[in-house]
Amino acid sequence: MRAGLRSLVIAAALLAAASASAALRVVATTTDLAALTTAVGGDLVIVESIVPAGIDAEAFESRPGDLDKLRQADLVVRIGLGYDFWLDALVVRVGNKRIMRGGDAYVDASAGIPLLEIRGQGVVNEGGHAHGVGNPHYWLDPEYAIIITASIAEALVRRAPEHRDRIVANRERFLAELRTRLQKWSEALAPYAGATFIAYHNSWPYFARRFRLNVVGYIEPKEGVAPSPAHLARLISLARTSQVKAILHEPYEPEETSRFMAQKLGVPMLKLAISVGSMPDARDYLALFDYNVATVANALRARNP
């Protein structure tokens, strides 16, 4: 009897201890935000992403399991800018006010980001996607990770104030590593400043700005609409006059047209990682840039050594 009581008390104490130190469950919409949250949260967080690696987040269809993830979430991190628009409907279904816009467990990572290509809705958008409030691919500028991780760290501290120091230290460690690598990346691409490219979609403005590249045109100007031959002909003559060095291709798009253009122009087609996990080498946020920078730099070096 007494032994039973004692074991019960111990079990209860253990449970309480476990729940106190239990990791925060964070749901990020994309793998990139998940990677950055892991970098900041370390072992304080269990991070899941809603969109699997390598899937086009703008064409993503959610499933019942996503509701489950959100129901258990202590924190939600999203890209915003309409990129992961489907999250709103999911959160409404879950009905937890804290993970809705304005809630204390909600992070819109686009807050404070200097956005590019702000165009009004209804204006013809030659850049592809329905980018109403600016181009949403801002995580592809590694320096913006400083801003993004700040938003994430702030929210994590809000949810777990007792771990403030560890979160801040994690972030500092990550940013130190990021800065060292950023230096390397910039050096690797510095000799090719102004190099010209054609991209399949308009996914690379932030990447291009950070590394001083020039994306002159896009193969598929409207999402899901095959380019017209006249558009391709214009693009080819534009590419010739601006001496395009390579075609940038998103891994989840069909390759035919990109390969065709590459062949016509006699330049390589480079499959770049658009998100963590979309190419095998892009295992985490830093590896994504290692891979993309190396791919671009190698291609450019091969063309003018």
Binding site: A226, P229, E256
Partner: protein
């Protein structure tokens, strides 16, 4: 001149590819129409896509021999299922089975792709396709493959054609029917599997069905049907490709539309041209009468719509305004008109500003001193402001247009409605009187013949 030569260098290969496609698909289309299984191509193509996705999920490249083997096995399974369901035709239409096969194969592909997301682009490719980027090697491969299948079909044309005909499998053993059906479906599956990957589902379906339908419009004799189908298919492909280039449109969708246009032309010429003079006259008359009545009905409906809801979209009125150059401004006071016009000018001006900032930021990405984050933020907020102002001017224009339309509702809507009603009444009465007169003519003609 350079435009045309550039167009030719760009469209020569796609055109050759579409000729190759038309030759085999229009022929198979004849079979498909006779067998009444028009969606079988979609089902087989989707099954092969499922095979490719399964191959991908198991770690094979789609273009590798293993990838091809998977796609082939799945197509063969589809062919076998279609073969076995011929006997269902008595109780349920085979078309139903074909539809189920297609939907299930599509759903299964989605499920497989969900497990191996990196294969998603192959599914996308099959849906869209892009005939513009076809290269010589691919065309040569297709031509060889289709030649082999075409020869095979020519060699065994007798059993294949009779099994596709109305009479069906009379006087043949069940095993014989099954084996010929399987040969047909398997070769059919191989053809559409290969073509769908290049041209996309929509175009392949149209190339298969539309030329054959055009052929059957004019003849029942197989050789004529094929000749007509082939020439119509090739002409429509050429027209579609040319339009796609000239008007800057996606190629596959334009070619599908061009094929449909040829079908409409063919039906019209069947009705109005390939008939004797008297019937042609009668039909032209009836068509003209129908057009007059339809025009009056359109005017009546849209004038009623203007009266009921002047602030709604007014497609016919907008068309009229564009054609006459008399816009909504005509019905505004001069100060209102000025506001209306200046709002239009401001919209252009604001959007020019947005574009100018965009261009400035874009060129600073790679030349000159880079813009600091705060400068980017400032540009972004300017752009946002200009976009808001554009929306504001747009709102002003909408309000003024509604105001003008509310006035037009009585000045234009009411008279137009009265004219349309009067026109409808007069024309239908006149037409029916004429028809009665003609009917009398015919009866005398008939009695004279007797």
């Amino acid at each position: 001149m350079s435009g045309i030569s550039e167009m030719l260098t760009f469209l020569a290969l796609p055109f050759i590819a579409s000729v190759v496609f038309v030759l085999i698909h229009a022929y198979l289309g004849v079979h498909v129409l006779r067998r009444k299984i028009v969606f079988a191509d979609l089902a087989l193509a989707q099954l092969s896509a499922l095979g490719a996705s399964v191959a991908f999920a198991n770690g094979y490249d789609v273009t590798s021999p293993a990838g091809f083997a998977y796609a082939f096995v799945f197509t063969a399974i589809g062919a076998a299922l279609l073969t076995l369901t011929r006997n269902l035709a008595r109780s349920v239409s085979q078309e139903a089975v074909v539809g189920i096969l297609y939907v299930v194969a599509t759903a299964a592909t989605i499920l497989v792709v969900d497990r191996s997301p990196l294969g998603a682009e192959h599914v996308k490719k099959i849906l869209v396709g892009n005939i513009v980027t076809v290269d010589v090697a691919v065309i040569a491969k297709f031509a060889a493959l289709y030649a082999v299948i075409g020869l095979l079909h020519w060699w065994v044309r007798r059993p294949l054609l009779s099994l596709s005909s109305e009479r069906g499998p009379e006087g043949r053993s069940r095993l014989e029917v099954w084996s010929w059906d399987f040969v047909f479906y398997l070769s059919f599956g191989i053809v559409v599997t290969s073509s769908v990957a290049t041209a996309g589902v929509l175009l392949v379906f149209s190339l298969l069905i539309v030329p054959a339908v055009i052929g059957f419009t004019f003849s029942d004799k197989l050789s004529f049907v094929l000749l007509i189908a082939w020439s119509a298919g090739i002409a429509a492909s050429a027209a579609g490709l040319a339009c796609s280039y000239a008007f800057d449109l996606p190629t596959g969708a334009t070619m599908v539309t061009a094929l449909a246009g040829f079908l409409v032309l063919a039906s019209l010429s069947k009705v109005f041209i390939v008939v004797d003079a008297e019937r042609r006259r009668a039909r032209l008359q009836r068509a003209a009468q129908t057009a007059v009545v339809a025009a009056f009905v359109c005017i009546l409906v849209s004038s009623m719509w203007l009266i009921i809801n002047p602030s709604g979209d007014q497609p016919l009125l907008a068309l009229l305004e564009r054609a006459t150059g008399l816009g909504s401004a005509t019905f505004l006071s001069s100060s209102e008109g000025d506001t209306y016009e200046s709002a239009a000018r401001d919209i252009v001006r604001f959007q020019d500003e947005v574009d100018r900032l965009d261009a400035m930021e874009k060129s600073a990405r790679y030349q000159g001193p880079p813009l600091a984050d705060d400068e980017i933020r400032r540009i972004a907020s300017y752009q946002q402001t200009f976009n808001e102002m554009t929306r504001g001017e747009q709102f002003v224009r909408n309000v003024l247009q509604t105001k003008a339309r509310t006035r037009e509702r009585w000045i234009i809507g009411l008279p137009a409605a009265i004219i349309a009603i009067a026109g409808l009444g007069l024309s239908t009465r006149w037409f029916s009187r004429r028809r009665r007169g003609e009917g009398d003519d015919h009866s005398t003609y008939d009695s004279a013949e007797v």
